[in-house]
């Protein structure tokens, strides 16, 4: 399968790969996918006020899945939570020129973002 240059670039030079402290109140963690499906994405955001100041990912999956999550973290930094919640998988598909069989990778990234925001907000509610 031929990959686009952008996918290869994110795969070879992943942005924001790593982990934030999942126990911190300022950090929201989203883990989506399943090992038996061949895709697991962990996406974390660090929030100050309404703003995402940092984002990290770790992904088990194909090159497109890695690239989708890497790109997502790049975009998330500096966004407000509302803006992040509005991020659509189709924007990722377009930016990386993902073929139809790889669209689920971008869907997973969108789900991971929403799941991380949810986690952050549920922590805030408990305070």
């Amino acid at each position: 399968m031929a990959y686009t240059d952008k996918v290869i670039d994110h795969f070879e030079n992943p942005r924001n790969m790593g982990s934030l402290d999942k126990n911190s109140d300022d950090v929201g963690t989203g883990i989506v996918g399943a090992p038996e499906c061949g895709d697991v994405m962990k996406l974390q955001i660090q929030v100050e006020g309404e703003k995402i100041v940092d984002a990290k990912f770790k992904t088990f999956g194909c090159g497109s899945a890695i690239a989708s999550s890497s790109l997502a973290t790049e975009w998330l930094k500096g966004m407000t939570l509302t803006e992040a919640n509005d991020l659509k998988n189709t924007a990722i598909v377009e930016e990386l020129s993902l073929p139809p069989v790889k669209i689920h990778c971008s869907v997973l990234a969108e789900e991971a973002i929403k799941s991380a925001i949810e986690d952050f907000q549920s922590k805030k509610k408990q305070d």
Binding site: G38, D39, V40, F60, G63, S115
Partner: protein
């Protein structure tokens, strides 16, 4: 590096002539020999005269062009027969492994339908056997798929128990193309002989290194593929037993009466000559190649095993020498292939297949879905050198370590989290 005693002056294996090159920095290493092999240059040389000099139809009996082509075909028939210990008159030439397997399965089913409509096979057949049997099932035949253990060996008791009075065919893969496990076909052949059931063996993968004798193993029909044994693509052979018992097959195509009426159509003379030469070279080299490839393959696995959480798929020893199917736990197979740029391999990961379905073979072995997604098949062959293997070890290990760093599953595993206890959100 040279591979001694094999190519003579013709080939040095690191020659990259005709090999597609990617980045200037990364040498391309071909370790996908169970997908297809490079046509041996000695095979190409043998074929060349049959394109533009001896270009006759092997069935033209009235002029020298026909006789020349016929001579080429006759020699090839002898060479292929010598590979499996049969008579030249028992070899039929086809367009490849898929046609051979289809002709065997459907040809027996149609010819012996009055005797019965039950077929026995394994759960780990190549689709060239599995799909024709499935097609027969849709047309009134019944099939039993014998399970295998976790190393890929067919359950012999279940096999014997599955045979019925109306069983007309047993079709069994010899060396499995995905994991390399070799079946004890002689043991099954003996049972078939005793019960008077026709025994077809799909030997498309493995005859370049393994010795298989159709009489000793009680085989009635055997499929051979050209391009899996360093011959050309688009040509194959089928052994069809002539005596004790005389096996007959209903042809797939109707036509000019060639190949004892079982495979009509003008013979692919250059391809057949190439297959013959390929078979001859296999006989010459199989024992030495078996030893050489086993050592290279084991060296590779030993290096991978030094990483944690690496598992071999297939039988530890009763396995084709070129086969190394490995699961690198917590690293998805397609990304691993992408990471070890320039190392040409296959993956059991669903992501790489057209259907997005994980392999039925891995499933039959009971390899967990999570591990199937992390599997890579390396398949070594005649032109694989030790340098190739070292290069693959280095690039694959490096890539696996980098991807584990990136893997949330590896992180959880290292934190002592039980991944099976997690409720995953399926998409």
């Amino acid at each position: 590096m040279q591979t001694p005693d094999m190519q003579g002056e013709i080939v040095t294996s690191t020659s990259t002539e005709g090999t597609p090159s990617t980045a200037a920095t990364a040498r391309v290493v071909y370790l996908d020999n169970y997908s297809t092999t490079r046509t041996d240059p000695r095979v190409v040389e043998a074929m060349l005269p049959y394109f533009s000099e001896e270009y006759g139809n092997a069935h033209s009996r009235s002029h020298p062009y026909g006789w020349g082509a016929e001579n080429g075909v006759d020699t090839a028939r002898e060479q292929v027969a010598a590979l499996i210990g049969c008579k030249a008159g028992e070899i039929i030439f086809t367009s490849g492994g898929t046609e051979s397997c289809n002709l065997a399965v459907k040809g027996v089913a149609a010819m012996y339908a009055e005797k019965g409509k039950h077929i026995v096979t394994s759960a780990i057949e190549h689709r060239a056997v599995m799909d024709p049997i499935r097609s027969l099932e849709r047309n009134g035949y019944e099939a039993s798929y014998i399970p295998v253990d976790q190393t890929g060996i067919v359950d012999h008791e279940a096999f014997v128990a599955s045979l019925r009075d109306d069983t007309i065919l047993v079709s069994m893969i010899f060396g499995n193309n995905e994991v390399g496990t070799i079946q004890d076909v002689a043991k099954m052949g003996a049972v078939c002989k005793e019960r008077g059931i026709i025994f077809h063996v799909d030997a498309c993968t493995g005859l370049d290194t393994e010795t298989l004798d159709v009489d000793a193993a009680g085989i009635d029909i055997l499929s051979i593929s050209g391009h899996k044994i360093y011959g050309p693509k688009g040509v194959g052979a089928l052994y069809v037993r002539r005596r004790r018992p005389r096996v007959r097959l209903t042809p797939l195509l109707d036509g000019g009466g060639q190949e004892r009426g079982m495979r009509h159509g003008t013979l692919n003379v250059p391809g057949i000559v190439g297959l013959g030469k390929a078979a001859e070279l296999c006989v010459e080299q199989r024992d030495a190649e078996r030893a050489r490839l086993t050592a290279l393959r084991d060296k590779m696995f030993a290096a991978f095993e030094a990483l944690e959480e690496v598992y071999l798929n297939g039988h530890p020893t009763q396995r084709l020498p070129g086969a190394l199917n490995v699961s690198f736990n917590f690293v998805e197979g397609e990304s691993l292939m992408m990471g070890m740029k320039g190392i040409c391999v296959s993956s059991g990961s669903a992501c790489t297949s057209a259907t997005l379905e994980p392999s039925h073979v891995m499933r039959a072995l009971g390899v967990g879905e999570d591990l199937v997604h992390t599997s890579i098949r390396f398949s070594l062959g005649r032109f694989t050198t030790e340098d190739d293997v070292d290069e693959a070890i280095a690039r694959c290990s490096d890539s696996a370590l980098k991807l584990r760093d990136m893997s949330p599953l590896w992180e959880m595993f290292k934190e002592g989290i039980d991944l099976n206890a997690i409720e995953w959100k399926h998409d």
